[in-house]
């Protein structure tokens, strides 16, 4: 008789040994789908001809300046930056400074496309093969998928990678967002990462440069960061008359007389750009570096913007290689680094004299044409269609 007691028990009701099995510990992927299709590479704002001005008239000119101060035989070029999956800037620098020369380019890039499963992973992989096939690229060069902000933590793999290669000749923070978008004081922020990286750059004995490209409009700026930078700027204006005079004469307004909400877009651009530069000058001062704005350019990402909203600035650090004077008087006095106040007076002219790329290129069609063709050649090396590019780029004045 089939009473419940005699039923064959259902296996699922039997007690099972509870062994926690995490399948992530067994499988890197879980489906046998066809491999991911390569992502389409559209033309993007930083493919416009004006970016070639930044590469050529700002970055390349600065590298030329750095190389001119090198001793013979001191040839390699060390670069850390955010190169993007096309590695356009690295291709350009190699062609300009390494191709046909006895100079190698060794780079470390941070880009999320190096993360497994990234949409642009295939594009980066091909780009890396192309670039590492170039004759003077150091074979240890690489792009890693870690967040640049990770540099703030000295236990991070990102930091270990940076310290194994640095200090660098070029630090290229080529952002399309705002440098001021993170809140202050975070363990992991672009400021903390910059601060850590400058600690490494403190070991650099020859001049080096920071290329900073950042949105400078009101949007995308963390309010507490803005407040902190403005407070410091105002304080510097109060305590350093030379800086205050320079700021007023070059940038034609006094940030102390109104709140940042009341500033025009142009005033906001000038104040924030100077504020960021001033913050970096403070760090440079602790590194005992001369700090100058080697060049600055601006353009509009939003075509309807009433003022420039994008800044490309080349910041030059020249290590002094001296220490403070011996207060006991035993050692003779050495040539001293200018004070922070003195150095700060050079910043407002650097910002005030920036090149408005949109205006410049719209007024000089030949120049624009030249940049467009150079961009086209660079993009062609990264597998973009030149004809499609020309058609796309012709739609912009800059």
């Amino acid at each position: 008789m089939n009473t419940p007691e005699h039923e064959i028990p259902d296996d699922s009701r039997l007690p099972t040994t509870q062994i926690a099995v995490d399948y992530d510990d067994i499988f890197a992927i879980r489906s046998y789908d066809v491999p991911k299709q390569p992502s389409r590479r559209d033309f993007l704002p930083w493919h416009r001809p004006r970016k070639q001005y930044v590469r050529q008239d700002q970055w390349a000119d600065e590298i030329q300046w750095l190389l001119a101060r090198r001793a013979d035989g001191d040839q390699d070029l060390r670069y850390v930056g955010l190169p993007g999956p096309d590695l356009l800037d690295l291709r350009y620098f190699h062609g300009k400074f390494c191709q046909g020369e006895q100079r190698s380019l060794r780079f470390l890039g941070f880009d999320p496309s190096a993360r497994p499963g990234s949409a642009m992973g295939e594009a980066l992989n091909v780009s890396l093969q192309e670039v590492r096939s170039l004759p003077n690229v150091d074979q240890r060069s690489d792009v890693i998928g870690d967040d640049f902000r990770r540099l703030a933590d000295d236990s991070s793999i990102a930091w270990q990678q940076v310290t194994s290669l640095g200090p660098f000749d070029i630090v290229n923070l080529d952002l399309c967002g705002s440098y001021a978008s993170d809140s202050p004081g975070l363990d992991s922020s672009i400021y903390s990462a910059t601060h850590a990286l400058l600690g490494l750059q403190h070991r650099q004995s020859r001049p080096w440069s920071l290329f900073l490209t950042s949105r400078i409009g009101r949007q995308g700026v963390a309010p507490d960061t803005l407040s902190l930078l403005v407070d410091r700027l105002v304080s510097n204006l109060d305590t350093c008359p030379a800086f205050q005079q320079s700021f007023e004469s070059q940038l034609a307004f006094d940030p102390r007389l109104s709140s940042s909400d009341e500033w025009t877009e142009g005033q906001f651009f000038s104040a924030l750009a100077t504020g960021i530069a001033k913050w970096l000058l403070g760090l440079a001062q602790t590194m005992r570096c001369r700090f100058t704005i080697a060049s600055a350019a601006g353009y509009r990402v939003n075509d309807g913007s009433p003022a420039l909203d994008m800044l490309s600035v080349v910041l030059r650090f020249e290590p002094a290689l001296t220490i403070s004077d011996d207060s006991s008087g035993l050692a003779a006095a050495t040539e001293q680094l200018p004070s922070e106040c003195d150095q700060a007076t050079g910043l407002p002219p650097g910002i005030a004299n920036l090149v408005d790329l949109d205006s410049r290129l719209s007024e000089d069609h030949n120049f624009r044409r030249l940049l467009l063709e150079e961009s086209a050649a660079l993009l062609a090396s990264a597998r973009y269609d030149v004809h499609e590019y020309r058609a796309w780029a012709e739609g912009f004045v800059s």
């Binding site: 992530d24 499988f27 890197a28 992927i29 489906s31 046998y32 789908d33 066809v34 491999p35 991911k36 299709q37 390569p38 992502s39 389409r40 590479r41 559209d42 993007l44 955010l82 993007g84 999956p85 941070f110 880009d111 999320p112 496309s113 190096a114 993360r115 497994p116 499963g117 949409a119 642009m120 295939e122 992989n125 091909v126 890396l128 093969q129 192309e130 590492r132 096939s133 074979q139 240890r140 890693i144 870690d146 967040d147 640049f148 902000r149 990770r150 933590d153 236990s155 991070s156 793999i157 990102a158 270990q160 310290t163 290669l165 080529d174 399309c176 967002g177 062609a380 090396s381 597998r383």
Partner: protein
């Protein structure tokens, strides 16, 4: 943050294609796929096909026949060598190991060669006449690469050794003159008998593939990149030395009842990631890694320092260093790779000794006695032994693994000294050929030729190099065989002082098993080699015995051997018995107040820390009692070394053992 971090470009097509019926995956024939690639328009849909093996048994092979991740890397490096690459770079994001790229500047694959490979895994065109048409073999000789290198790869499973490492990967390849790169993205299928019960000889689907072409403006460049970005967790754990670190830090699953963690990290390691955040390193004794080279070292110097670090520990209380004691998995893997693939030696090829290195040279003449050779400065061993140039180091092949440019880590200069009667290392070289005359080629496997050296040295460093290594086309997949192909004589101690490399110049290929990591011991070439090797070993051992005996006699005559105490006599008797009276003396055992003592003169010593082993002696005659205890422990330690008891122990373990013996002696009183 960077633009690409904020702007996600739209996908060209679709993210994934999911198939409810896996057996119906689109498969383009070899012809159709090649036609599609030839007519491929940039930006059009990639071509979808399936990976095919010529037979199901091969599918099993592609699924992973290798035991270690390093074996798969070896196969990829060998593939690059066969493709006439002059440079291979293996890049990892160590110690995370989420991504690996193997990149070479070899001749690359034409679309036809790639398509052929995808459709004929295990049916390589290498070593066949069709290889020349696909640009992967010489036009004149299918057994050679287009530039004339003898091919190491055989059946074309090398690339798919990546199944050991990853579940999916990408191939990017280009040949010189092509205005496109060819890219293939592959997902590998896990082999299962249950999933496919079809004809075992039929083609078998081993994976799914997308293939496309990318325009290239660098027409003259060439090479192949293999990108692994879905590394198997198990492989990742191995590369991360997870077993070691769990023993050091404890398993996340918790300790076993009564388990005490006493495992020390390896002396040199790449560090380990944190459990809860793989982008961060875990600190170990205040540092994140312990590498023997500096970041500023160039890759060749960095590798030399890795090799030197293993030698240096001899003077730091590790008389017989083993790689497993010193290095984590990654560093051991790098070491093994440097032994496996064709590379120059860290100092020089053994045949290129010049006489200034302080070794005595001998030739093992065919079927005769060994013949001493002139080993004076200005002579070359290669010339003295009339070896010719058939065996030499490759001059145009470099292998970079992250920071290191690999060299063969076998040293022949500045060898460590010991208490051996024979202080000068001896090197024996030979050149042999077996033509198997009178035996059908079909049975003999054809002629078999090789050149070899046997180095006798008081100490072989690391101990892992004790034994014989057989190279075919300068490559191997085995480790040193410490049994010397099962040498039958009880000469264990002397065998531990011999390293032998055999460089096959003809034949033997067929004797290597498919994983390249073992031999068919019944193959005539292996049998012939075994017999030759055993005969050579006997001759080497006899020569060393003769020289040792003479040296010992000279020392006795010179009165340098002092009268022995009773305890010394016991040790001598045991040592002599265990070493077949080879003329060596037991190693020195030194007690020191600082546990680690460096110094070349003490390279054969066991250095024991007083604080760890002897402890405090107080009261009357404390110093005399301590010295007596040290003498007792010195003799006991020497007896233990005669039985190789201490060889597998770390310095700390050795000290713990001797300290325990001391406590027992003290427990029984004076």
């Amino acid at each position: 943050m960077p633009c690409s971090w904020q702007c996600s470009p739209r996908r060209r097509y679709r993210d994934h294609v999911s198939d409810a019926q896996p057996e119906q995956h689109p498969h383009l024939s070899e012809h159709d796929l090649l036609q599609g690639l030839t007519a491929y328009d940039t930006g059009s849909d990639p071509l979808e096909t399936t990976l095919r093996t010529d037979a199901r048994v091969i599918a099993r092979v592609t699924d992973g026949i290798y035991r270690q991740p390093g074996s798969a890397l070896r196969e990829l490096i060998v593939n690059a060598y066969d493709a006439d690459a002059t440079r291979v770079a293996v890049r990892t994001d160590r110690p995370r190991f989420r991504r690996m790229v193997i990149e070479d500047n070899g001749h690359g694959m034409t679309p036809a060669a790639l398509v052929h490979m995808l459709h004929h895994i295990g049916g390589s065109a290498k070593r066949t006449t069709s290889g020349a048409h696909l640009g992967i073999t010489s036009m004149d000789d299918p057994m050679r690469s287009p530039h004339g290198r003898p091919l190491i790869g055989k059946i074309g499973i090398g690339l798919f050794s990546v199944a050991q490492l990853t579940q999916s990967f990408q191939i990017i390849t280009k040949v010189a003159g092509d205005d496109h790169r060819t890219v293939a993205s592959v997902v590998l299928k896990q082999y299962s008998d249950q999933l496919d019960s079809s004809d075992p000889d039929a083609e078998y689907e081993a994976g799914r593939v997308l293939v496309w072409r990318e325009p290239a403006s660098d027409h003259s460049s060439h090479g192949t990149s293999i990108v692994l970005d879905a590394i198997r967790p198990q492989t990742r754990d191995t590369l991360r030395s997870k077993d070691i670190w769990e023993a050091v830090h404890g398993s996340p699953a918790g300790k076993l009842e009564g388990e005490v963690s006493s495992v020390m990290p390896p002396r040199f390691h790449i560090g380990t990631v944190q459990r809860d955040d793989e982008d961060l390193l875990r600190s170990e004794a205040g540092s994140y890694f312990q590498l023997p080279w500096a970041p500023s070292d160039d890759p060749v110097r960095a590798f030399e320092r890795l090799v030197q670090s293993v030698w240096d520990v001899i003077g730091r209380g590790v008389p017989n260093p083993r790689l497993e004691q010193l290095l984590d998995y990654y560093l051991r893997m790098v070491w093994q790779l440097s032994l496996w693939v064709p590379l120059p030696y860290v100092d020089m090829h053994p045949f290129d000794l010049t006489g200034s290195e302080g070794l005595r040279w001998f030739e093992l003449a065919q079927q005769g006695r060994e013949r001493p050779l002139t080993s004076e400065a200005g002579h070359r061993l290669r010339d003295e032994a009339r070896l010719g140039d058939a065996v030499s180091s490759p001059r145009d092949f470099t292998v970079l693994v992250d920071d290191l440019e690999l060299r063969r880590p076998i040293r022949l200069v500045n060898l460590p000294t010991t208490s051996s009667a024979v202080k000068t290392p001896l090197i024996f070289v030979a050149k042999e050929r077996f033509d198997f005359q009178g035996v059908a080629r079909e049975l003999s496997g054809g002629p078999f030729g090789f050149q070899a050296y046997l180095l006798w040295a008081p100490k072989i460093v690391p101990s892992d190099h004790q034994g014989v290594l057989i190279r075919v086309h300068d490559a191997t997949g085995t480790l040193f065989d410490p049994t010397f192909l099962k040498f039958p004589l009880a000469e264990q101690r002397r065998l531990q002082q011999i390293v032998c490399e055999v460089f096959v110049t003809e034949g033997f290929d067929g004797a290597i098993n498919i994983d390249r990591e073992s031999f068919n011991f019944a193959h005539p070439h292996v049998v012939a080699l075994t017999r030759w090797l055993h005969s050579a070993l006997r001759r080497v051992i006899n020569v060393e015995k003769r020289i040792a005996s003479t040296a010992l006699e000279e020392r006795r005559t010179a009165g340098t051997l002092q009268a022995q105490s009773k305890a010394e006599q016991i040790v001598s008797r045991v040592w002599s018995s265990r070493t077949n009276a080879d003329g060596t003396a037991p190693p020195d055992v030194v007690f020191t107040d600082s546990p680690v003592v460096a110094g070349p003169d003490e390279s054969a010593s066991y250095v024991l820390g007083r604080s760890q082993v002897i402890g405090d002696f107080t009261g009357p005659n404390a110093r005399a009692r301590r010295e007596q205890m040290e003498d007792q422990l010195r003799r006991i330690t020497q007896v233990l070394t005669a039985y190789d008891v201490l060889d597998g122990l770390s310095t700390d373990e050795t000290q713990d053992l001797i300290a325990a013996i001391r406590e027992i002696l003290q427990a029984y009183g004076p």
